[in-house]
């Protein structure tokens, strides 16, 4: 385990230090006092473990492929944006657009997530132990979003594919959603997945998928389209 003391260092200096340690063969790195700086650990394409002992700012771990990143604090906007594979654990809260457009990998937020969590996900898994903000799962194309707490307005709006599980109440659902009771296979997935992160699955989960009415334009359903657009 190598340690970087980020005190007094800029984002660029911290990122260079991480890369220097990786080149030397380090596979476990911890970063002290990241002070919510932006763009930390972006573009890492190796299976390295990084622990930030404190909050990170916006766009932490964007466009990564393979690392395991733990944040012992909160994260700003766009955490793990466009991740291909890897895993993120946030012990605090996440800002807007957490896991936006991820293609694979896992993001777990133990606190709450702000607006547009999991927007345009193209794969992967996003777990939010607390509540999620406005328009979570908007235009999701693939992958799974599990919200254990409550949702703000417009949950799962205009999804193509993918699945959203909601453990609490939604202030409102988005356009074109189909809500059902999870079947035995869903429950087994939820229990297995949440247990892995120490989260109880003992909640009245609902399963939400695309209603598929927006997949093709139907003249008879012009009202629905007018609402969406």
């Amino acid at each position: 385990m190598e340690t970087i003391d980020a005190k007094g260092k800029s984002s660029r200096e911290i990122n260079r230090e991480i890369r220097r340690l990786m080149e030397q063969g380090s596979r476990q790195i911890r970063v002290l006092s990241p002070r919510a700086l932006h763009n930390l650990a972006v573009g890492i394409v190796e299976p390295v473990e990084i622990a930030f002992e404190g909050s990170v700012g916006s766009y932490c771990g964007g466009m990564v492929d393979g690392p395991s990143i733990r944040i012992q604090g909160s994260a700003g906007w766009g955490l793990a944006e466009c991740m291909m594979s890897g895993s993120f654990v946030v012990e605090g809260n996440a800002g807007s657009s957490v896991a936006a457009s991820i293609r694979g990998g896992t993001v777990v937020v133990h606190g709450n997530a702000a607006a547009r969590a999991g927007i345009a996900m193209k794969g992967g898994l996003l777990v939010i132990e607390g509540d999620c903000g406005y328009m979570a799962g908007f235009m999701m194309q693939k992958g799974t979003l599990i919200v254990c707490g409550n949702s703000a307005d417009a949950l799962a709006d205009s999804m193509y594919e993918g699945t959203v599980y909601l453990g609490g109440e939604a202030r409102s659902l988005g356009n074109d959603t189909n809500v059902s009771e999870p079947d035995e296979q869903d429950w087994s997935f939820l229990r297995r997945t949440l247990a892995r992160h120490g989260i109880s699955a003992d909640r009245p989960f609902k399963k939400i998928v695309a209603g598929r009415r927006l997949w093709n334009f139907e003249k008879q359903e012009f009202g629905l389209w007018k609402e969406v657009l």
């Binding site: 006092s33 919510a36 604090g73 700003g76 605090g92 809260n93 406005y134 202030r171």
Partner: protein
Amino acid sequence: MCGLVGYLNKRNRAEPLGEILYQMTSGLCRRGPDSAGVALYGKPQPGRLRVRVKLGEQGDFQQEAVRLVEAISKITNVHASKTINEYQTLAVDAVDPIVLERQIERMSSHFEVISLGSRLDIIKQVGSPEDLNATYPFRSFAGTHGIGHTRMSTESRVDLSHSQPFWAHGIADLATAHNGHITNYHKLRRQYEQHGMHFYTENDSEIIGKYLALKLSEGMTFEQALKASLQDFDGSYTYLAATANSLAYVKDPFGFKPLHVVECDDFVALATEEVATRTWVDSGYVSREAGSDEIAIWDLNEVSAPTKSE
């Protein structure tokens, strides 16, 4: 893209407010290199008003200051008066803010009241928070609450008048700072101008204070006015508003602009990015992002939970 910060001591204690706002705005200055400003709420002076006036863009400010004091002396007593660059700071016996402002502006078209109130001082200029403190040292200022702003101009001029925070005009001690873009600004401004309201800048953020002042004068409470603004403003906005004894935020229904909230037993700190509060103090709290379509108000002695618009 601007930066906002706010701070309030929930136990109504005076704090090193200037230093706190300086640290937090410095942490955000990459979000706004054009200008910096702070609205500070100090010890109330019963029966007195603190007034800050911009004397103009250039010229003999000392001479202008003499004219200003003469004009004010006709309607109230001037107890203190000091000139720093284009700023004139005054302490006067309390009079109706509207009457006082009219008297000042009647004297010269260059005069602009930057702030007015029993507790409020707004200090702002082009440049960084560091430059601001070099010109108008405010780091040693003690107070209970305040807001700060770092500006990156997108639409209007970069000068002192267009910098933030804005005093709301017409109502003592009401100040606002805004991050975003009010897209129905021109429509609202036209309506307000038809009712005789005067605008000092081309900055869309100026409309927020004007809006709140209007709603308060129509009889709404501060909370009602903030909530109503969620319906009446279009576009992207997170704004902070402060009065003589409270601090509030409003975040638009789409959550276009970030705002981090740190709440402890003793204080609440608000900032566009967590890096601002971490620059000031880096331990002992958890930061969360404010919800969309949400307002929250903290009074110096009483706290209300965040509420959604109806």
